[in-house]
């Protein structure tokens, strides 16, 4: 029983660290080309109808931390904040909606 619990813990801890690594480090190397939708909008000609999000001036807008000049650090910290926030909100939500064991 203890082994199973340990196993599970190991799985979640390593999964979480992989996730942190992807958002915090690998994200810097992501392609900055426009994505599929942007590219299509540009090619067809309606890219100009896009408006900035009302939150476009937010402190984390566009996956960068306002005030951090170093780009690698800026996207990495933004990614880590996103992972922590998504992890907290989603895990909290799933624990609330889950079936209660009886």
């Amino acid at each position: 029983m203890n082994n199973v619990a340990n196993d599970k813990k190991k799985f979640y801890i390593s999964g979480f660290f992989v996730t942190l690594f992807l958002a915090g480090v690998v994200s810097f190397y992501a392609s900055s080309s426009p994505d599929g939708l942007e590219k299509v909008a540009d090619k067809i000609g309606f890219i100009d109808t896009a408006k900035d999000s009302a939150l476009a001036k937010g402190p984390l807008a566009d996956y960068g931390v306002k005030g951090i000049e170093n780009e690698r650090l800026s996207v990495g910290v933004a990614g880590i904040i996103g992972v922590l926030a998504t992890g907290a909100v989603s895990t909290g939500l799933f624990f609330v909606v889950r079936r209660k064991s009886n």
Partner: protein, 224 residues
């Protein structure tokens, strides 16, 4: 794939926000039967992983990139209802914290990625699983197929929204063929990432994988 504000008019965006809210409400109900103490943390990790991997745009064709949507991946790992919720949390975080995807477009994006992407991906996964040999290894291959199909399906969601309420007047068929063509390519990347992620979980904790264990204990079924 994240629609910014302005592409689709406000009435259409609002209508889709209503539709998406209904989808989220249904998912909240449905997720109850598929999530328990054991799988709730996996659902949280899945959402978090999808957030991270959505940051990792990969190049597809000249000057175009794509990233994982994750709908099929989440559906295979935690079931379609919890998957819809996971994707919705990711989209809300992206829209609210990172200004990725418009605020008025949030219902459109949830509809395309959290609902169409998840359910079409899940449906394709199930069809493929039925067609493949009844082996453990088939799960990741079926997931690859589900992932591949889910991306052009979500792109078609955008085309429908554009057809109903696009603010530009370019022909729907031009938008449709460009969207589908590009997203078939992105779907290949989606399929591969989905394959590797599902394989990794299957290798270490196959007992947690919804799309696999459903087979094993098919006692608990549609109680929604």
């Amino acid at each position: 794939m994240h629609i910014p504000d302005g592409f689709i008019d406000i009435p259409t965006s609002t209508a889709f926000a209503v539709l998406s809210s209904a989808g989220v409400a249904l998912s909240l109900k449905g997720a109850k039967s598929s999530l328990d103490e054991k799988t709730a943390p996996l659902a949280g990790l899945t959402a978090t992983f999808i957030f991270a991997v959505q940051m990792l745009n990969f190049p597809v064709a000249a000057g175009t990139s794509g990233h994982l949507l994750g709908g099929a991946l989440a559906a295979v790992l935690v079931g379609p209802y919890a998957a819809s919720l996971a994707l919705t949390v990711v989209l809300l975080m992206q829209g609210l914290l990172f200004a990725d995807g418009g605020l008025t477009a949030i219902g459109l994006n949830v509809f395309n990625m959290s609902i169409i992407g998840v359910w079409v991906g899940y449906f394709a996964f199930n069809l493929a699983k039925r067609a493949l040999p009844k082996k453990k290894a088939s799960i990741a291959i079926a997931a690859l197929i589900g992932g591949f199909i889910s991306v052009p399906a979500a792109a078609i969601g955008f085309v429908i929204e554009y057809a109903i309420g696009g603010t530009a007047t370019f022909s729907v068929s031009a938008v449709a063929s460009a969207m589908i063509g590009t997203h078939v390519l992105i779907g290949i990347g989606e399929g591969l990432i989905t394959f590797f992620a599902v394989s990794a979980v299957m290798a270490s904790r196959s007992d947690l994988v919804y799309g696999y264990k459903k087979e094993v204990n098919s006692l608990e079924t549609r109680s929604v």
